[in-house]
Amino acid sequence: MKYQINKMIRKFYSRSTAVPLSGMILFIFLSLVLTSCEKVITLDLNEAEKKYVIEAVITDQPSTAKVLLTQTKNFDEDNIFPGVTGATVTISESGGATTALVESSPGVYINPLLTGISGRTYDLSVNINGQVFTSSCIMPQKVNLDTIFASNEFLFTDTRKIVNVEYKDPAGRGNNYRFVQYVNNYKQEEIFVQNDDYTDGRNVNTKLFFFAEDDDTVSTINSLDKVRIEMLCIDQPVYKYWFSLARSSVGGNQQATPSNPVSNIKGGALGYFSAHTLQTKEIVVP
């Protein structure tokens, strides 16, 4: 969370009422210097070779297996990413059956009958006009999401409601988790990932702190909001993907060296293949 410092400082100055003199001077200096000369520019960015983007998911729940195929676009094009049609997509269980996924809408490949089992290895194969991309992922053991609840947290100058998740990490290192938060059915943008490097075998309480961007649909959690949390038990390469995605390419303003997230897909595509367990809990914030 510390990489959000810039944003928090901005929030701090915009909300606090009693700012020390030095803070005021800094604020005036920064606002004069930084905001007065902001302008949108056109950069001559090279047209990069187009790459395929694969988002492939298989879970232990029915009707959730899904593969999305899209392509990269140039920076100055619009943000509408059409699906890649006509690909052959299969997911096979190591030493088991191979299941084909069917294109249900352009670029979306599904099979409602395909459900994974913890501990098994799944192999993805995507064939787009003869170009083959593969990946392999182990579906980890399921760790139970024991409880979720909201708490009041004091952040800089105001008190905000934050959702807590609690679970018992099993003994032995190597458990990785991802949480997805929905507030009144809107997916909240923050990427929450966690491993057990420092919490192995313990009861874990994690507060899902988030700092919304100006254009996010969900900016705060308030009383009577309906919050749904998905807990995903993911394997190490998938953890690495989300961790590096959160740190690098999204927003792109905090890190020292912008780069692509570490993908587990072979063959030169962007994206990820995740075999994970999925558990959902919902509360109404008091």
Binding site: K2, Y3, I5, V33, L34, C37, E38, K39, V40, I41, T42, L43, L45, N46, A48, K50, K51, V53, E55, T70, Q71, T72, K73, N74, F75, D76, D78, N79, I80, F81, K187, E189, I191, D214, D215, S244, L245, R247, S248, S249, V250, G251, G252, N253, Q254, Q255, A256, T257, P258, S259, N260, P261, V262, L270, G271, Y272
Partner: protein, 259 residues
């Protein structure tokens, strides 16, 4: 040999440099340099001309690994670094006018500074952030009379080598930028004109004083300080590059005295 290390970000949105000392992991930087130069006074020693060319090979160079995050990890920075080699070469021209009412110089440097570090940029040579292909400086000073001297300085250099997104894509319903190479792009070129005038108030053996008027960035060039990338707020279907510039014109007056 150098025991202090400069680690520069390669993002255009946060141009932060960090100085590091040696540790058990960060070894002293070593460089070997050869240079050949030629100097000559010309036109009755009014002018001096020099040309120098150099090649420098560097070992134990450091840079951030891909996706390094200096804010998230306040602990060991070594885990965010990779080590390799570097090279720098170039040629410098300098023409200097030493005598007469008009003095000053004209300097031009053509150079290249690169790094090659396993794990960065597919292990290929890439530009160091500080790589400046062209660097020009024109400095002139003219003595109008015994009281007044006016001066002007113009500098120009190629923008820093930085990493820009080469494209974008969508993952998990968010726009993600796609990068192809480290420091493969350039900040806009930097140039600036400074003007100055000095008025000698008093010039005695024991005490002399003068007033200096100057104007920094006389033609108000908005030199880019940072460039960042974001979704357009009004039209989320678009992405845009935003440039922030620091100081435009800065006038100043100073009073100097010597005794």
């Amino acid at each position: 040999m150098q025991n202090l290390h400069l680690v520069s970000n390669s993002t255009s949105s946060n141009p932060t440099d960090k100085w590091m000392a040696n540790t058990n992991i960060i070894k002293p930087e070593i460089s070997d340099q050869v240079s050949i130069g030629y100097y000559q006074d010309i036109f009755n020693k009014q002018f001096e001309l020099s040309i120098e060319t150099y090649y420098k090979a560097m070992q134990n160079q450091i840079d951030y690994r891909d996706g390094a995050d200096i804010f998230a990890n306040s602990d060991a920075i070594e885990s965010q670094l990779l080590f390799g080699k570097g090279r720098a070469y170039g040629i410098e021209w300098l023409l200097k006018k030493k005598a007469g009412k008009l003095t000053g110089w004209l300097a031009y440097t053509l150079s290249k500074t690169e790094k090659k570090i396993a794990g960065i940029n597919d292990d290929k040579w890439y530009n160091a952030r500080q790589d400046r292909t062209h660097e020009i400086a024109v400095v002139g000073s003219y003595q109008l009379n015994s009281k007044w001297t006016v001066s002007a300085t113009w500098v120009y250099y190629t923008g820093d080598a930085v990493t820009f997104p080469a494209g974008k894509y969508r993952v998990d319903n968010r726009t993600v930028f796609y990068y192809t190479e480290r420091n493969g792009y350039r900040m806009p070129d930097y140039h600036r004109l400074d003007l100055g005038a000095t008025w000698i108030l008093k010039q005695k053996k024991r005490f002399s004083s003068e007033l200096t008027f100057s104007l920094y960035n006389a033609y108000g060039r908005e030199n880019a300080y940072t460039i960042s990338f974001r979704d357009n707020k009004d039209d989320p279907d678009k992405t845009e590059a935003v440039q922030y510039a620091l100081f435009r014109y800065i006038p100043s007056v100073s009073y100097n005295f010597k005794f």
